[in-house]
Symmetry: D2
Subunit: 264 residues, 4 copies
């Protein structure tokens, strides 16, 4: 909290690796009590401008119970703390077949969506570039954000990337993630919400779905390129980055350094 | 509610098939608002002795969004209603890899576990006999119930079977389910909770897990048979049922009847 | 086989609901032996022009073992029969997180892909409109087909729809499925395979992925509408169907009929 | 192969981390061709007594395609090599809801089961102690092995542990795994296979399942303890290990050493 104060942070984001690997290893409820105690102490030390974002993750590194494995558990802990405690959604931290946009809508409706760690995955917590695995899902998530007008900073939702670069150049991969979120948001903004509501009320399943899907299938890239040009930016951020020489510069400078790792 | 009043029911148990099949088909948040309205009206009409149990299910028959797909959503709706609204856990209604005993512990800790629909499954909502797919999981669930002394009717948790008999004789299969719950409960009661707590506090992972697993691997069937004999019951309920001739009786009586089905 | 002969069918497509619900219920290997016997007899009765397509499904209606639950099992049965026996892929019949385009590629490489039952799903075997749940996955599957030039009837792959209409008008939903397959195929054809191979050989992960994804994000709908116009067809098949009055005609004609169902 | 020759190994066990992270990154079929080439060269260099075991894994460390993600792919590669190439099953490397004993039975029937990497998991590839997550599944797997009398070394199936110790003492955890496999095997041997076959042929679903489950619920630990005593061994291997002082000895000796890690 001291560091948050010094850096004028508007939020502290908490993720706990804690949990158990084997049935019987610890008392599930007692661990929640201890977690609440620790969070309450931290919460009390937060300034009035600061939010606490409590992330959840289904498994890994703990393999039987994570102390905060799902949004329900995070929600219960946040409700016990107060208004400034909110749930942080990492898009890769769910059971397979979880409908992420649905729980995002639930949290928005309850005023408890604190923010996102964006990334994508095919299997576990793969931490691939955002939108790389299922761009239609990203569009559906952004639609829920757009639908409550929470896409701007005033919306109170913190948007963060949380990706891991094993085989691809890091900075370019992050630019790609930002572009993918931008395109998904532009597509979500294309949905005519009044027309959609009319079709929904009429029970026109195919009509409403077609209107929704039409927005997704629209190619927004030319429009976004034009917008960038109007703003005095390069219309193609990845090409601009490649031309900039920055990648070569850092690769040259960092020769001989020591890579950071997870322990060891 | 009128029927509940006439029958002196202590709980009404609600499960909603409602939801959507396609993205865009309906407004996710607006559906929650309408659900809340309907539940609030029902809740207001409930007598002081009656609880409302709100069941959740991940999918089916709706294939994109269920209105109450998970315990988090059920919890939010229950919290908005009041103390007498609680979550109903159907053991077959979760995403794969969901830790059911964990969420049971969360709901018990929050005073929001209303009851169970017990069954078992390997894949989707298979509705097999309780304990048929993963008896160790059933034991772990019953341990959480035992750990808060909620296994008796006074514990406030409603235990129900919700199984579907496609290929096996119905009554025998239900007796088997009851026996499996009984055996899992007996094993859970065998765990020395003081000794377990000591090992847990000492951080003895293998010791605590071994104590827990030892109870599961103990054969409680002879003990339960003896207990039945002491109570003047047949020690082997399935054999007793088979000898009773009841199955032959109902099969003879019901020849020529019309089977009930799901519609059509 | 007699009916196939009379109707000049080029393929018989087999799916078996058979299996078991409970461990121990039957001998897993013996069931395969009996399945092989039955298939071998049928195979021997097939004319030289006919293929046997053997479909697999992970679960449902059997809930512990399906006799043919996955492509490996179907492949083993087909290999034991001969060249004219091939695997049928239903896109909704896999474990979650299965990479469908990967196994399609494996079957194509082995000369054992018989065809598809196309549909889409978010959870189980939801049988939604093709491409409705994950259009990017459909594109990736069609890319593998295009990559071996098997998209035409001469390619030897049978393309079928297998969807179930619970809430949406049936014919329109099938037109939508056909359009979605058509669009995914057009996008797959847009991928410059030579350029892609160059980027792949160069180990340019982001470049190869971007080229691939660019094709997916291209809006092929105007081009396909133009193509239909050139062929003398209506550019918008769904609008054309709606204008045709066919839906009203069949709804009027079929008033009073009896809906078909699954039994009962 | 040179090392295998020097060490008189009867099998070489291969697992490949190779694959891709992003769609389009590489040609799926071409990778199989290259894999085949490499394996064929190795296979040709193998002595007549040596088997090649080809392991599969659904995902991780590659997050879009693994080159050998499932038993079907491993089988195809092994079939292209010859009789001495067989599939290696790691019990933690499957999609959720995969019926492992079923595919074990398929591989046994095809003469293609090379061996096991035993471990257990609740979620991904958790590498917990064998039998720690689902002891009933371990019993069902061992039943298939017992059912073809392949439990002895002459059976041609290589049994290996592949577990990872994050929080528990390593040697004790391995002893526990061995005990769990031993107990599951003893239970599988208890199943009266003639009686089971009779019930199966009679279509007695509940009877066959009960016979099967009865063996699992039998407490074989006293019998195994007695057997060890008869063999001149300690009846309780974990207690014997604890008493031996070996753990203290290695902990003392290895103070100040450097832990091995994954890279860095």
């Amino acid at each position: 909290m001291e560091i948050a104060h010094i850096t004028n942070s508007f939020a502290i984001s908490l993720w706990f690796a804690d949990g158990t690997n084997y049935p019987g290893q610890d008392n599930i409820r007692a661990r929640q009590d201890r977690l609440h105690e620790a969070l309450a102490e931290t919460y009390a030390a937060m300034g009035p401008e600061v939010s606490m974002l409590l992330e959840y993750k289904l498994y890994e590194p703990s393999f039987y119970t994570m102390d905060v494995p799902d949004w329900g558990t995070s929600l219960l802990q946040c409700l016990a703390l107060g208004e400034k405690a909110k749930v942080l959604v990492d898009t890769g931290h769910h059971a397979l077949a979880t409908n992420i946009e649905f729980l995002v809508a639930m949290l928005l409706r309850a005023g408890k969506l604190g923010g996102f760690h964006f990334n994508s995955r095919f299997y576990g917590d793969d931490d691939l570039m955002v939108g790389a695995a299922d761009p239609y899902q990203l569009f559906r998530i952004m639609f829920e954000i757009v639908d409550v007008d929470a896409v701007t900073p005033e919306g109170g939702v913190a948007f963060m990337l949380d990706q891991c670069h094993n085989i691809e150049p890091k900075v370019q991969a992050e630019i790609r993630s930002v572009l993918n979120v931008q395109e998904a948001t532009a597509k979500a903004l294309l949905v005519d919400r009044e027309e959609l509501a009319t079709l929904q009320r009429a029970g026109d399943v195919l009509g409403a779905n077609a209107l929704f899907q039409d927005a997704f299938f629209t190619d927004v890239r030319p429009m976004l390129a034009e917008m960038r040009t109007e703003m005095g930016l390069d219309p193609d951020p990845i090409a601009a980055y490649r031309r900039s020489g920055y990648q070569q510069k850092i690769e040259t400078e960092r020769v001989g350094g020591t890579a950071a790792g997870w322990g060891a």
